[in-house]
Symmetry: C2
Subunit: 164 residues, 2 copies
């Protein structure tokens, strides 16, 4: 038995429990992204941001570009690029939005709906898998907690006037 190695792993694990919340969330997001990427790659050739757009449209998200973009939390730039990629692949139909000449109306094509039908169950199973890892109490509050953290992460100025 490699005693030194065990010590090292234990030290690592112990240390991890004291890390800042921000780092833990970052790490979790990276792992979840990687897992999602792997599942998507195994069942098609979409990128993760592409799939996310297909996914929320498949879930019935609003089709106005701004509303859709805010649901996804995408940057304007990234949203524009990814939508155009999907349009070129024939998965999205992009038309003018009658009520606002600046925005677009984004909807799935038949091909886009087909991709969604194929991938959605896989990714849904993954999310179920994640939820099942939680204790009932945790499961009950996780969405509310994430939502509150999200709101708190939007503050540009923190309580402490910390500029010099």
């Amino acid at each position: 038995m490699p005693q030194g190695k065990l010590d090292q792993d234990t030290e690592t694990a112990d240390f991890r429990s004291g890390l800042p919340l921000s780092l833990l969330i970052h790490q979790l997001a990276m792992k979840i992204d990687a897992q999602g990427r792997a599942l998507i790659a195994r069942h098609g050739d979409l990128t993760l941001p592409q799939w996310r757009i297909v996914r929320v449209l498949g879930l019935g998200a609003p089709e106005g570009s701004t509303a859709l973009r805010k649901v996804l939390g995408f940057d304007k730039s990234q949203f524009s690029k990814t939508v155009n990629q999907l349009q070129e692949r024939g998965l999205l139909s992009v038309t003018d939005l009658p009520t606002d000449g600046r925005q677009l109306r984004v909807s799935l094509t038949d091909a886009g709906r087909a991709v969604h039908e194929r991938l959605a169950p896989v990714l849904e199973a993954r999310n179920d898998h994640l939820m099942q890892a939680l204790a009932p109490e945790e499961r009950r509050v996780i969405r509310s907690a994430l939502s509150k953290l999200s709101h708190a992460a939007e503050a540009t100025e923190l309580p402490k006037g910390n500029v010099d």
Copy 2:
């Protein structure tokens, strides 16, 4: 009052509550990163990954490169590049690790420690701010929940044999 706009926002907010957990976590991580980036930029010129290395070393993380990398959850490549950036800036001292010829020993220089002392309180206040946004019950379980999700996100094969 722009009634249409209110409807749209309400629709967006309502829809958000049904989004997949994976997307919510991704969105939260992006917001937290952006907030951290803004704070770091305001008090220095480190990048976020650079700060993370300085931070965990300042917290007393192991100095062996592999252990340190795993605490951070960094990719091998990114870790290597970021450590070299910090070394060039004179914030890190990188030497050979006696116990393993492949690994490196990474530690803060005096300059690195100074940067840590300057930034740590600011980022700590931010993390306090995040925690205070949670209800007591949520605060109690959040770390455990994140840890369980992290573990569940490492599975490469999901319960369902979902190939075709």
